[in-house]
Symmetry: C2
Subunit: 274 residues, 2 copies
């Protein structure tokens, strides 16, 4: 499985075509087939990670999902995260910070949602909002944004040192595809609730967002906490790509069924006597 | 769909055969086919509930799962809960209470995990442990257990009044089937981590547990917060039965796509101009 590769500090977002499908040459059926084929491996790796965590293992995985509206974070959660055992997944969607959250350092609410040992944590939006929307809307001075890049990198190094593997994914959508998807939301009774008038306001700042993403990714992509820019105009592609990234990360952890702390033969005898 | 029916205050657990399959006459394939057939309805109902919650709706669902070890709670979570959108599910596994939790009233930690509006909450074990293991092990005086039945009933009435539909499921396993399942755990490298030597200690108190379950269920089954006793010797059966219970509960809520707070035509025009 040759999966997506991380981007470097020389990233030019404009060079990545949101409608491209690197690694998949034969279209949606190839992607769906590959995704189904590796689904069992994903479930197995995740269960091993969880089992190891239950028996004292310290490893965990954190998947950070960032994207413009309609890019498909929800579908990733449903179709990729949904293939894992819910007991071993800690999903959190970060909304606009509450007053209490704003009274704290921006990483305070993030720390509260970190995955415990054995868990796969999934962040639907994350601390990166504090250098994305915060930059585009000028919510804090630019010097503060600059400081935050360093704070985020230090925070992530700390997590890695404590046993968390981090993978960060930007779902990379085109401006035109977003327009089509927003239009479809407005057309469908069962999708209208997903639309918010502010979506168009944010859309109007597209280029500023792309610049903020590019800068944030350049400043925080590291071998130990890599960023992946996943073309997202085709949902079948991005789902395969993110599943592949997650599987690769779990393979890197290589979780093993834990040794147990009891004597197996002794327990078999005890059980037989009941 | 004629699903499982709630039990009454005259429940005799011994009258319910754990290997029976009421509602399924043709075996595992019928159950699997029915479960697959209704999977899309489950997903649709749950998304409607979530959508309504996002737009101010007050309804939620709480599924309480209780059972002896190996009865299949984990499989229910993976196969039934796993069919729903992870974003709309709040799953919590209650373990032995921490010191902090024990310093509070027994319902304190339960309240902290209640589903928000729009959410499906799933409790893997629950406040019922405080009248089950607490009774069997004599952790609190029997007068306190008696009081707790009433406190639980009042607590659940309060939740129902605030918009939460509650369904409570006891997975009803036979003592013999548990023995087989524990033996299999001990035999398999990938299952040994799920075995705990205390499982045999608890097993030795089987009859006391059954008496505690029967008493707890009799005292807390109400039309507004019903208990279902689901035969669990066949996993294919219990998964179908619990899915059916959840679907019936969601049908009872009958969640509707919410009316949105913006003018659709106006937004279409704004979007078109971008």
């Amino acid at each position: 499985m040759s999966g997506p590769t991380p981007v470097g500090a020389d990233l030019h977002l404009a060079d990545i075509d949101p409608s491209s499908t690197p690694g998949i040459t034969k279209g949606r059926h190839e992607a769906a087939r590959k995704r189904a084929y590796h689904g069992a491996e994903l479930a197995d790796l995740q269960e091993r990670l969880y089992a190891a965590g239950m028996e004292g293992g310290k490893r965990s995985l954190l998947l950070v999902l960032q994207a413009m509206d309609t890019a498909g974070k929800g579908g990733i959660v449903r179709h990729v995260v949904g293939n894992m055992d819910p007991q071993g997944v800690h999903l959190h969607a970060f909304k606009a910070p509450t007053d209490e959250e704003q009274a704290h350092d921006f990483l305070w609410r993030i720390r509260a949602q970190l995955p415990a040992p054995g868990m796969v944590g999934v962040f639907d939006r994350s601390h990166y909002e504090d250098v994305l929307i915060a930059r585009v809307h000028g919510l804090v001075p630019s010097e503060v944004i600059e400081q935050r890049y360093g704070q985020i990198a230090a925070f992530e190094r700390e997590l890695v040192a404590s046993g968390t593997t981090i993978v960060k994914v930007m779902l990379h959508l085109s401006r035109d595809e977003q327009k089509d998807r927003l239009a479809r939301r407005l057309d469908r009774r069962d999708k209208q609730w997903k639309y918010n008038p502010t979506d168009v306001d944010e859309r109007a700042r597209w280029d500023e967002y792309m610049a903020a993403y590019e800068r944030a990714i350049r400043r925080t992509t590291e071998p130990s906490a890599p960023w992946f820019v996943v073309p997202a105009d085709h949902k079948w592609y991005s789902r395969w790509a993110v599943q592949t990234i997650v599987i690769d990360a779990l393979r890197g952890i290589d979780p093993q069924w834990p040794k147990v702390g009891y004597d197996i033969e002794e327990q078999k005898a005890r059980l037989a006597a009941t």
